[in-house]
């Protein structure tokens, strides 16, 4: 390319506008050194564009200058020791700008806070989990109890049962109990929750009086509260005239020793 072509190509305008690549910049500089006309042309373009910029000049606020000087004095101590700038170091010195220092500081801060929150929330999570387990257990207990009540209630209100109230005899007026007798099936259930606890080594025994003779109906549990307050299943009887409870030694006897409660079937 001769100088005229270069000038006409428009690359010099681009160069002055800063729109050329590094390679193109190097090329233009080389041309400017080699050809005074090119250098002159560049200077003229620069001058024209500067005029354009000057035509649009706006004086900034006075405080802007002060702010700039405050910033440069805050950043550098170079003014106090300008000599340092003349010493060329072989090893490059990497500096981290205050902006990035700030970013790093903020990042670390966020990390610390985040970690603390992790611990906090993890503990809270554990607590919640424990609470949840406790609540689940409590709920299971309630559900079991409700089921129990429901089955007891179902027995009590079943229209097929014959309710027999056993009354305490003179010696043991408090020894009362309720029998639910299902005559079709012979099933006998007892609510023993009102029976007084037995002395140690003793146990209540249930009897059906059939044709004037007591027949063993099984042992009643009273000293275990969990069981005492639930309806207990006794042996089944197809027919009976009365039911009785006697106090026996633990394990029971083939015949009743001390009858404490009796109820006739009407």
């Amino acid at each position: 390319m001769d100088t005229k072509e270069i000038i006409l190509s428009g690359i010099l305008e681009q160069y002055v506008l800063g729109a050329t690549s590094e390679a193109e910049n190097a090329q233009v500089v080389a041309w400017a050194i080699a050809h005074p006309e090119i250098a002159q042309e560049i200077a003229a373009i620069q001058h024209a564009l500067e005029s354009f910029a000057i035509a649009n000049a706006i004086e900034p606020k006075a405080s802007t200058k002060a702010a700039i000087f405050a910033k440069i004095n805050e950043h550098s101590s170079a003014k106090q020791a300008p000599v340092i700038n003349l010493i060329e170091s072989d090893t490059p010195v990497y500096t981290i700008s205050n902006k990035w220092k700030m970013v790093a500081a903020v990042s670390i801060g966020i990390l610390v806070i985040s970690s603390a929150l992790n611990v906090f929330y993890f503990n809270r999570y554990n607590n919640v989990n424990e609470n949840l387990a406790v609540t689940k257990q409590a709920l299971a207990n309630e559900q079991a109890m409700a089921k129990e009540f429901k089955s007891n209630w179902d027995i009590a209100r079943n229209p097929n049962n014959t309710l027999v109230s056993l009354k305490g005899l003179e010696t043991n007026p408090d020894a009362t109990a309720k029998i639910f007798w299902f005559q079709q099936t012979g099933e006998v259930l007892i609510d023993a929750s009102n029976l007084p606890n037995t002395p140690t080594g003793m146990q209540y025994q249930f009897w059906a009086i059939i044709d004037g003779k007591p027949v063993d109906g099984g042992l009643i549990i009273t000293n275990d509260e969990g069981k005492k307050y639930r309806i207990q299943k006794m042996k089944s009887f197809g027919k009976a005239q009365a039911f009785a409870i006697s106090l026996e030694k633990a394990g029971g006897n083939p015949t009743p020793t001390t009858v404490v409660s009796l109820g006739k079937i009407i």
Binding site: E13, G18, A48, L49, N56, I72
Partner: protein, 180 residues
């Protein structure tokens, strides 16, 4: 301002040595031009001064990267300022589109308040620049204030690249005639 006048070579040498007095001189002479250039691009006086401040801090801190072999000091400062402004605009999500749509009638009255008139005949220059044909003035503004490449101008304005190049040259030649 003080009476001191520096030649460009002196100024460059002093600034390389972090001479604040020279920097003050540089600011007094160029801040209004750079500020006006930034304002033309951002059309927001407060934002313009923020960018101006950043630009001068960059000029101070990066002065060592100025190479007198590659062009005049003023051109370097202008390019640095313009690039910084473009970066700022991009980081703020501005679009070039917006800039184009507002370029024509936005020559603000703010320029009239400037006090740089003592050093440059701003009013005179303004009049001269206004004499440019609109399409020539427009093409210079797109390239100069908004940092468009000739390629981009060709695409945006839907003018063939060859026309953009010749118009750009014509515009600058015209401008040269007006200001000489």
């Amino acid at each position: 301002m003080d009476e001191v006048k520096y030649s460009e070579e002196e100024l460059v040498r002093l600034l390389n040595n972090k001479d604040q007095q020279a920097f003050s001189y540089l600011y007094d002479n160029y801040s209004a031009i750079l500020n006006g250039t930034i304002y033309k691009m951002v059309e927001d006086a407060a934002l313009a001064e923020d960018i101006l401040q950043e630009a001068f801090i960059k000029i101070w801190n990066n002065f060592a990267s100025y190479d007198p072999m590659k062009g005049r000091l003023f051109t370097w400062m202008l390019n640095l300022t313009r690039n910084l402004t473009i970066d700022t605009l991009r980081s703020k999500g501005y679009r070039k589109q917006q800039l184009i749509s507002s370029d024509e009638n936005s020559v603000s009255n703010l320029a009239d308040q400037n006090s740089i008139a003592s050093k440059y005949d701003v009013i005179g220059l303004k009049k001269q620049v206004q004499q440019l044909k609109p399409e020539l003035k427009n093409i210079i503004e797109l390239a100069y204030f908004y940092g468009y490449t000739q390629d981009e101008i060709s695409k945006e304005a839907q003018i063939p690249l060859g026309t953009v190049k010749s118009r750009m040259r014509a515009a600058i030649i015209e401008l040269r005639k007006l200001v000489e």
